[in-house]
Amino acid sequence: MLATVVPVEDLAARIPDGATVALPPDYGYCALGAVHALIRRGARRLRLLGVPAIGFQGDMLIGAGCVETVETAAMTLSEYGLCPRFTAAVKAGTITVVDSTCPAIHAALQAAEKAIPFIPLRGLIGSDILARREDWKVIDNPFAPGDPVVLLPALCPDVALFHAPMADRFGNVWVGVRREQMLMAHAAASTFVTVERIVDGNLMDDERTKAGTIPGLYVTALAEAERGAWPMGIPGGYEPDQAHLARYAELARTEEGFAAWLEATVMTRPAAAE
């Protein structure tokens, strides 16, 4: 079956307002071109899910007013410091943060990929992460009483959105060792992927590419976007645009600076990669 291949703007148009959108961390393959298109289309009330953390793309979406809630283990620009628009929004109370921890997000997505209602996880007991989560429960281990265990409901995102080095015409997407992106695709109702290039042939024909490939059956639509991670890089591909990221981190410290960055970088360009 052939993949649905659309322009990046159309891909973003398929992500509805109010959707829960699972995003990879900055060290994964981030679909910044599509994120910028989401901002251009004026997306609203998005519920971001960090798998397990979010960086620049989340801060940009928050700054542009696209976000209602963020569930994540962390929001960070790593060596560029705190996420400035996230921090401002939390202090102003304009977004809701649902604090989690990395393995809880991974485990709850695994529950979704298995289509089971919940999954137990060790740790957490006595933390304020747990104390503030009304959706998590502590039960006594039914197999060995006297052993309290946390239960997490399955996390079923409406959308997974990420980038990848390549796909084929059948919608098979190669992510290599970035298997959390495979987990995201398994767990989400719809998966939208931008890729550096769409290759000839079938990625499933070679065992070496097949092992790191998300089958097309999980992929809702694809967009070809060369340098579609920019200004992020892709591991094994191109480096992050350090100068641009540093400038973003500086400008986004104020609302005016962020607005100027947004206008110059996102709003006036048909696609960020150009």
């Binding site: 060596e79 740790g123 298997r179 987990l183």
Partner: protein
Amino acid sequence: MGPRPEEVLITAIAGMLEGLGHIAVGASSPIPGAAALLARERSAGTTRVSILGSERNNFFTDGGKELFDCAGQGRIDAFFLSGAQIDGAANVNLVSIGDPDRPKARFPGSFGSGYLYFVVPRVILFRLEHTPRTLVERVDFISAPGFSEDGVYRPGGPHKLITDRCLFDVDRDRRRFRLESVHPGHTLDEIVEQTGFDFDIPPGGVPETPVPDDDTLEVIRTRVAGQIAEIYPDFAARVFATPTH
């Protein structure tokens, strides 16, 4: 030249890692990363080091979950945690100051601390800003508790707390820190003044944190510096004057 403060810390931490099979290091941790690499250099090939953010020191092939699953199974012997605040009961706060819903300060978040602190046997706490603002009586948000009630599954927990001024040992029975050594150039009075929580001071005086010998310094400045530069080029250039690339 003599040992730099960072090299004293690296050597002290490496001493806590001796003989371990698998040491994992998280994000934003150049000194723990260098210490783990020093421990590996001294291990004659028996210590494995996994460093987040490193291409060369990362063995995981099953996605972001694997580090945690691996730790949960007991396959990771030591890990490092820091915090915006750490309190006298070894609770760690990576989230916020003040009311979490309308915080005075907001930090990135708990990362994997709410899990790894429970399952990794030796969690080494590090905070390189030792002040009453960071080492507090009680944290504003518990990302991960220092200790757990009886009956809670807890094979892991705090092993030591190292700061830019001193090293604390952990008394797991009394659930308190005990001053173990004071770094060169610092004093007991200064540490008492700069620490926001109560801690035990052993009777009979507190030794100075040992400084690395010449052989250790040589290893740090050559093999360790070269490897840490792959992950933290700025840190390596600043501390070891490695060539930037």
